[in-house]
Symmetry: C2
Subunit: 164 residues, 2 copies
DNA sequence: CGCAATTACTTTGCGCGCAACGAATATTGG
DNA sequence: CCAATATTCGTTGCGCGCAAAGTAATTGCG
């Protein structure tokens, strides 16, 4: 890398592309990262990352899961889930084991320590809500709009794959 | 890892935690990843990842940038930007160089090849819009709701840091 | 002026996310 | 029953995203 001359190059011309910070995709990307960053200091005392917290919430809700359940609910693939679950197992929060009736499947169950961690996580959603501080109605409307958006995106993607 | 017995363990009890797939944070996380996945096949022919596309859009808009501009607009830190910009430089899409008037700052300018790439990217926003297929009004409302949400999150985060 | 604080960037380490490839088990069709 | 196919999971490689620590240049203050 070399030092550069002082002049400014000519701008790129007219702009058929919308400005980056006015596009839906960027609004989503920025909002998602901002919210995950909000969780970080609350999850750090529990020793959890945000995706690990999602996995633990599903386990707290169901008590047990198969790995493919995490995949279908959280939309994560095995390349992400396998090492993530291994780390949680090493930390003693869960056990993993093959289903004897179908040796392909891996069942995941909470340990007592994993169950106990739930109590320390109970205040998190409310704490997050206080910081975000949006009217309940607007908060709910935004959440539902995101679900419709995601559903449309996944449907559109499927449409592309089946014909063109 | 060992095979496991057949029985299901008892569920975790009552659920003061809302279900994972009904929380705002997960709606955001899922929507953001779904949309980025929608861009992937469109960006792959250009040899760009999604964050690289964001950087290029800002450059197409301004012609040149300082590294800290990417940081403030895209909310990315140097640990992400430095290697990303190096990869784009190796690909010949931009040049990086120290500002002779302030040797701390690094200026980033498009190469001719980087400018030419813009033409191949022009159809992307419209193609994405066709796949998402939401009424213009709802699309816009969701985008603005996300901007308000992000603004509130960042303001709330700042509030936590200044007093407690 | 001198020196502490600040700014702009780089580097390292770690945990995702995802594609691509591969392995093992289960299911289905002939 | 056997072969082809599908399902479930694992591994590898790469590019983010972020924290923490470090470097070099500039600014601000007494």
């Amino acid at each position: 890398m070399v030092t550069m001359p002082d002049r400014s190059p000519a701008p790129a011309g007219d702009f058929p592309l919308p400005a980056v910070d006015e596009q839906m995709c960027f609004a989503l990307y920025a909002a998602s990262r901002a919210v995950v960053n909000l969780y970080r200091p609350l999850l750090e005392p529990l020793g959890l990352t945000y995706p690990q917290y999602l996995v633990m919430m599903l386990l707290w809700e169901r008590g047990e899961c198969w790995v493919k359940d995490f995949g279908s609910v959280l939309q994560l693939d095995y390349g992400t889930l396998t090492p993530l679950l291994k780390r949680l197992e090493v930390r003693g929060l869960l056990h993993r084991g093959r289903d004897p009736r179908d040796e392909r499947s891996v069942r995941v169950v909470l340990t007592d320590e994993g169950r106990r961690l739930r109590e320390r996580a109970e205040g998190i959603p409310e704490a997050i809500g206080r910081v975000i501080d949006l009217p309940e109605e607007e908060f709910e409307a935004t959440r539902l709009a995101l679900r419709r958006l995601t559903a449309n995106v996944l449907a559109g993607e499927a449409r592309l794959h089946e014909d063109g």
